[in-house]
């Protein structure tokens, strides 16, 4: 404090304390006077010990001497000893001490300098020199003191700063350590993690992130915008908006690798806050879901393929679990039941498909005993006109208790089977007929020719008969009357008719074996059909039975039909037969709702030309339909039909023409016979 005050004062120093130590009062007087006159305060000691005590006192009273003038040559204790003692006092180190010496003593001053004296003044004292030296040393001292003071302040400041720095350092070190630990943890995390600042610029990315995104160094990615590493930026931006509201956001998005490849990740964002709860950035952690996605896609694909396979099966496939709940319901099942898979799913089988109630026991057995059950040709309430096969089979996997029902609509197959059987039947009939015909025709000829002779030779129209009768004495007239009365003539007629009929049957049967020698000719079917219609309406036999003028005949011929290779005579026979049947059917119908009508249609198909003959007669039951082409099957009363007309027709179309023939009919609505002839004949 004192020094500071001094600093502000002028170097004019009355207040400067100068101690004069000399054993000679004269010296003291001289020096004292000079100094006093120049404004110095003076303190006097006449010998060494007094000087020490004085300085000690002054130091104690906080008024230390600013300079000491010390005589070297003194009794009792010389100046050097005194000097050493004074310097031994605490706080005296800085007090400049100037030795007073006689000229003869100058050599001794080397010792004084060695001790640390700042200067010496030789006696006798020249006052100007004295003042100058004192002033110099006071100034020096003052400067020393100032420097020392400054040094002290500096030292203090430095110490303070050092302390501050040390503390800061310590905190930083701790933080670095903490951060390092943290980064080490994040670095070693297997999940990709990035940290951004508040601007969403990446400040940190862990190795897992770098690896997944395909970067080598952290600095490739730090400083880049977070959003640039993803494709769905709008979604991500929405996500960031949501993040600010909720503090967290998670989604599946597509990311962009360094090489531009795109892959799927699950992103989970959260906000980073500082101690004051201000947001300072984001952390994003990722899960690579591309593998999972791929597997999922693959799974979905596999499932779709499987569904496709199951759905494109022509069988209804119904999978049910051990509770009889539906787990699989394919397209065909939808078709058969008219129930969608969506509706059927997880429902009880019997609730939505009551037809299956009958099979519940077997389903249970199948589940428990791992057995397959098969039911053939069953009829379901959901589709009465159709025929099904049902197979119940357990799933192959033992652990899963479930069964699969397979339902096949075999209506068509059965029809086909029937048709094949029909064909085969025809063929065997054909073979049989060929052999039979000759054998039967001979005895038939016997009957027929005999009866012709009998009738002829009993007739009065033949002169030779009367001639022979006369020669025998027989009254031919009486004979005639007798024949009438005893119905012999009627019997003869019956024999003749019966044999004719039998002959006709045999003739028809022989057609099964007919190998037509004639080749098919390209035929204009519309013209042929017209001819047949014309023939039907003028045919005497037909006219007798049914007047074709009573029916409306609808011609429905497709125009510009190309010629079809066929045997016109046979087609004529078939169609005439169909027309006769139609006419017969209409005639047989008891109650009539619509005008009797026969439709004859001719249509073009891809590979076929289709001929239809439809009547609105009484129709047929399904049983009749099934048997209509069988040989000897007839619905007509005995004696009217041979039961061969349609089977011969069928044979002609299917065997001789490689065509198809079938019928559909609804009772009370009518029947429609369809013939299909191929545009091209197969080469046999």
């Amino acid at each position: 404090m004192k020094e500071e005050n001094n600093n502000t004062r002028s170097p004019e120093s009355e207040s400067k304390n100068i101690v004069i130590v000399d054993d000679m009062p004269k010296n003291i007087q001289v020096i004292g006077t000079v100094l006093q006159n120049n404004g110095y305060l003076i303190n006097i000691a006449h010998n060494g010990p007094k000087a020490i005590t004085l300085v000690e006192k002054m130091l104690e009273t906080q008024k230390p001497p600013d300079l000491i003038l010390l005589d070297i040559l003194m009794p009792e204790m010389d100046g050097f000893e005194t000097y050493t003692k004074i310097k031994g006092l605490p706080g005296s180190e800085e007090i400049p001490i100037i030795f007073l010496s006689a000229v003869t003593e100058t050599k001794k001053m080397v010792e004084g300098f060695k001790l640390g004296a700042v200067d010496y003044i030789t006696k006798p004292i020249a006052s100007e020199e004295l003042l100058l030296r004192i002033k110099t040393h006071l100034t020096l001292r003052e400067l020393h003191q100032k420097i020392a003071a400054n040094n002290k302040i500096l030292e203090k400041t430095v110490a303070l700063r050092t302390q501050e720095l040390t503390q800061k350092n310590r905190i930083l070190e701790a933080e670095i350590k903490k951060r390092k630990e943290k980064e080490f943890v994040i670095d070693s995390a297997s999940s990709p993690i990035i940290i951004t600042n508040i601007d969403e610029t990446i400040t940190y990315a862990n190795p897992a992130f770098l690896k997944l995104w395909g970067y080598k160094e952290k600095n490739e990615i730090t400083g880049t915008k977070f959003i640039n590493h993803f494709t769905e930026t709008t979604e991500l931006e929405n996500g960031l908006g949501e993040l600010k509201l909720k503090g967290k956001w998670e989604n599946e998005i597509q990311a962009v690798k360094k090489d531009g490849n795109i892959f799927d990740v699950n992103i989970s964002l959260s906000i980073v806050y500082d101690k004051l709860k201000h947001p300072v950035g984001l952390t994003a952690t990722f899960i690579d879901i591309s593998q999972r996605k791929r597997v999922l896609t693959e799974l979905a694909k596999t499932k779709q393929t499987l569904d496709n396979i199951i759905n494109s099966m022509p069988s209804a496939i119904i999978g049910i679990d051990s509770d009889h709940r539906i787990v699989q319901w394919n397209l065909e099942a939808e078709k058969i039941t008219n129930i969608t898979a969506e509706y059927a799913g997880n429902k009880k089988l019997t609730d939505i498909f009551p037809d299956m109630s009958k099979y519940v026991d077997k389903i249970k057995l199948s589940i428990n005993n791992h057995k397959i059950y098969k039911f053939e040709k069953i009829i379901l309430d959901i589709a009465e006109t159709r025929i099904f096969d049902l197979i119940i089979y357990p799933l192959a996997e033992n652990e899963i208790k479930a069964v699969v029902l397979r339902i096949d609509d075999i209506t068509k197959r059965k029809k086909l089977e029937e048709m094949i059987i029909q064909s085969e039947k025809m063929m065997s009939v054909g073979g049989l007929a060929a052999g039979m015909a000759h054998e039967i025709n001979n005895p038939l000829s016997g009957i027929s020719q005999s009866i012709q002779n009998f009738i002829r030779r009993s007739s009065p129209d033949f002169p030779k008969n009367i001639e022979v009768a006369d020669a025998c004495g027989l009254d031919f007239n009486a004979f005639q009357i007798y024949m009438e009365k005893r119905k012999l003539k009627k019997y003869l007629k019956i024999i003749q008719d019966s044999s004719d009929r039998a002959a006709k049957i045999v003739a028809n049967m022989l057609q099964f074996s007919r190998r037509s020698e004639s080749k098919p000719v390209d035929t204009n079917l519309p013209a042929l059909l017209d001819k047949i219609i014309e023939l039907a309406s003028v045919d005497y036999d037909l006219k007798k039975k049914y007047d074709f003028r009573q029916f409306q005949i609808i011609r429905e011929f497709e125009e510009d039909l190309a010629e079809v290779p066929c045997l016109p005579m046979e087609i004529e026979q078939v169609l005439l037969n169909l027309l006769k049947n139609a006419a017969q059917a209409i005639k047989d119908q008891k109650k009539r709702e619509a005008e009797p009508c026969i439709r004859i249609g001719l249509y073009r198909e891809d590979k076929w030309v289709r001929i239809e003959v439809e009547d609105n007669g009484p129709g047929m039951t399904p049983e009749t339909c099934n048997r209509i082409f069988e040989p000897f099957y007839t619905t007509k009363p005995p004696g009217i039909g041979t039961g061969l007309g349609l089977s011969v027709s069928y044979f002609i179309i299917t065997h001789n023409h490689d065509g198809e023939m079938f019928v559909r009919s609804t009772p009370e609505k009518g029947s429609c016979f369809t013939i299909r002839l191929p545009w091209k004949r197969r080469v046999k």
Binding site: A437, L444, S445, S448, R457, Q511
Partner: protein
Amino acid sequence: MMFSNINVLIVDDERVIREMLQDFLEDYEITVYLSGTGKEALQKLEKHPIHLTIVDLRMDDMTGIEFIHKAKINSDTKYLIYTGSTDYTLSGDLLELGITQQDVLFKPANMMFFIDAIERMFGDRKNENK
């Protein structure tokens, strides 16, 4: 309508058939020869002047076709084929001999067809007198 100057040979292995036809034709005063086999018929053809041969196709010793081919060497008889096969169609060599589909009759036939055929073949030789 009588054909007293016409000789007919009937060749058929079925006795009833040939006899019944014989009776019928004889009512038209036709002279009828019968034969149950092809071989016998060929002999009859050599012995008698036959105008018309009615021949069955299926016989035990030969077919009607074989018979015609053998017979035509020595005889210029005309032929009617009477067959139990209802769908018989003529082969080319028979057509060359002048036999037509009209000359084929199917069993059992209305025997008037034979008279019609004879009328067609020999109409100029019939004798209305008797």
